[in-house]
């Protein structure tokens, strides 16, 4: 009964996981019969000692960290706020709920397509036109995705637009789990809206919040599609991510070993973070 399912996940998840460690110590070429050549830890030392590659690698790590540091708190807060807003009745509220969730069914390719137009440079770009309007023509059109300082924030904004609805639904489920008697008791004590949130809603959503933070953190480390499609890691590596770097090494430059070494680093970071978060989760529940 278990054989097909377990067999498939072993073959296509566990085996590649261990294979990536072997691969990261060998020079191989896709589409050639040249036998693999062992190079030991060369691809790892390359990340830390090669002056040019080291810079790109650390820039990508930093970008992933910035992405996570902004997206995790911002998206969690937005999603929680949206969930509280739409946790009531009415046709209009229901429509809003659908609207906030809609981008979740949008593939990242489509999200990138739409936002490429919104962020287009020059006065024709929608965002530029909007900002020009609300500042009474004082705003100078920006090249959002081509500016070293604006590219990463732009990628962050479109990622939050696409992902917030997903977390909102998880928070909604969490809100349903808070017994209404808790609210009634607090209201009898004369709690105001803010106190209700601080003393009833937020503690009630604690486990949901931890779960959402975990999922969003791992999501932040996986960023690839929007970077590959919109900026190719540029300008000047301002949007490069670990995953983007790994694919551009392994796929674009047929340097599979280096790509595999980066995958191993990514796996290591994710497993470490999961261990830490699981520990936090366990302590909090007790």
């Amino acid at each position: 009964m278990l054989v097909p399912g377990i067999g498939l996940i072993i073959a296509f998840m566990l085996v590649p996981f261990f294979f990536s460690i072997w691969l990261s110590m060998h020079v191989v070429l896709v589409g050639s019969n040249i036998p693999a050549r062992s190079v030991g830890g060369m691809f790892y030392s390359h990340m830390f000692s090669d002056p040019i590659f080291r810079q790109i690698f650390f820039r990508s790590l930093e970008n992933n960290a910035i992405f996570a540091a902004v997206v995790v708190p911002a998206q969690t807060a937005i999603a929680m706020y949206l969930a509280i807003l739409v946790n009531r009745e009415g046709a209009f509220v229901k429509f809003c709920r659908t609207t906030f969730f809609l981008p979740v069914v949008f593939p990242m390719v489509l999200t990138s397509l739409i936002w490429r137009a919104i962020l287009a440079p020059g006065p024709g770009g929608m965002l530029n036109a909007f900002l020009k309007l609300i500042t009474f023509n004082h705003f100078t059109p920006q090249y959002w995705l081509g500016n070293v300082h604006l590219a990463l924030p732009s990628i962050i904004v479109l990622s939050i637009w696409q992902g917030a609805g997903f977390q909102m639904v998880i928070f909604l489920a969490g809100l349903q789990g808070i017994p209404s008697t808790h609210y009634e008791a607090a209201q009898i004590d004369g709690a105001n809206k803010w106190q209700l949130f601080r003393d009833v809603t937020f503690p009630g959503l604690r486990n949901t919040t931890i779960f959402v933070v975990m999922v969003t953190t791992i999501f932040s480390l996986r960023v690839f599609d929007q970077v590959y499609l919109l900026t190719s890691g540029g300008p000047l590596n301002a949007t490069s991510s670990i995953m983007y770097l790994a694919v551009s090494q392994a796929y674009d430059q047929n340097n599979v070993g280096q790509g595999a070494a980066l995958s191993v680093v990514l796996c290591f970071i994710i497993l470490m973070l999961s261990l830490v978060q699981r520990q936090v989760l366990r302590e909090r529940v007790d």
Binding site: F101, P107, W115, Q176, M214, Y228
Partner: protein, 290 residues
């Protein structure tokens, strides 16, 4: 798993909906909906209108021109591939992954939840660890392992049929089913297979719906894997075909690009509108996974 749909009685617990709340909701709704609106309106606009500041958001000069261009491309079979081909690939791959996945993952989930055998705990631990590892982290070794299968349908589906995540969702669902259900069957001498088909399947529709929807969203949207494994346009799924348009550096024809994007999302959007309650429920069911 057993999270109820938003029940009417429990809603609206925090005071009345004030005008301020409605105002905030409206602003947020416009912010979230605008990109979607722009996509749809833009898909009916000619090339010089679709990227023309605010004029692009005002429906004028509308025509089906972009769609008829795409329609012409639908049946043509050029070196750049045909739209019909992209649709076929995306649909077949999704069908294999969702259909095959429901069968193998539900069986594995049931086996983990109910069968007694040596190594069950270790196997469960393996599944949980594999849930944590995202596909991206193993995409590159997998790309090398399966490079002999490049440019085929099967290579696009193969890594996603078995899913640790789906197995775990099924496992938690089956674990929560009352064992009394199966006891009667056991007394009648039914083995685990017959019990699964006759007793479990009819009671597990919500779990199957959740897993089907979540894996459909995932596979229909997937971009990295088909990008790595296809180089011939007749094996491109829709996402890669559109990705190539988005990625091209020269200024593209935004109107046509929007129309193409609409066609990508239409099957998903129809699904979403018809089964909206189930979509939201399946995402909500993730909350208990932690």
């Amino acid at each position: 798993m057993a999270i109820a749909a938003p029940s009417k009685k429990r809603r609206r617990k925090i005071g009345k909906t004030s005008w301020g709340t409605y105002a905030i909701l409206t602003v947020l709704m416009v912010l979230f909906l605008f990109p979607v609106y722009y996509l749809i309106v833009g898909s009916f606009e000619p090339v010089d209108q679709a990227l023309n500041g605010f004029h692009a958001a005002v429906p004028s000069h509308l025509s089906f021109a972009n769609y008829s261009t795409l329609n012409a491309a639908f049946f043509s079979n050029t070196i750049t591939g045909s739209l019909k081909g992209f649709y076929t690939v995306s649909t077949l791959v999704s069908f294999i992954v969702v259909g095959g996945g429901l069968v193998v993952n539900s069986l594995a989930g049931y086996g983990l939840a109910r069968l007694q055998f040596r190594g069950r705990r270790q196997l469960l631990l393996l599944v949980i660890v594999l849930v944590i590892i995202p596909f991206e982290a193993i995409a590159i070794p997998l790309y090398y392992m399966l490079s002999g299968l490049r440019n085929s349908l099967i290579v696009q589906a193969l890594p996603f049929i078995g899913s640790a995540f789906s197995i775990y969702l099924f496992y938690t669902f089956f674990l929560a089913l009352p064992p009394q259900l199966e006891e009667a069957a056991k007394i009648d001498g039914a083995g685990p297979w017959r019990t699964f088909v006759q007793i479990i399947l009819p009671n597990a529709k919500p779990a199957f719906a959740s897993v089907a929807i979540l894996s459909f969203i995932q596979i229909w949207s997937s971009y990295l894997w088909p990008l790595l494994t296809t180089s011939q346009p007749n094996y491109y799924p829709l996402s890669v075909a559109i990705g190539n348009l988005v990625k091209q550096q020269a200024s593209p024809n935004y109107g046509e690009m929007f129309a193409f994007g609409v066609l990508l999302v239409v099957p998903m959007a129809i699904f979403f509108i018809v089964f909206q309650r189930w979509f939201i429920r399946s995402v909500a069911s993730l909350a208990v996974k932690g």
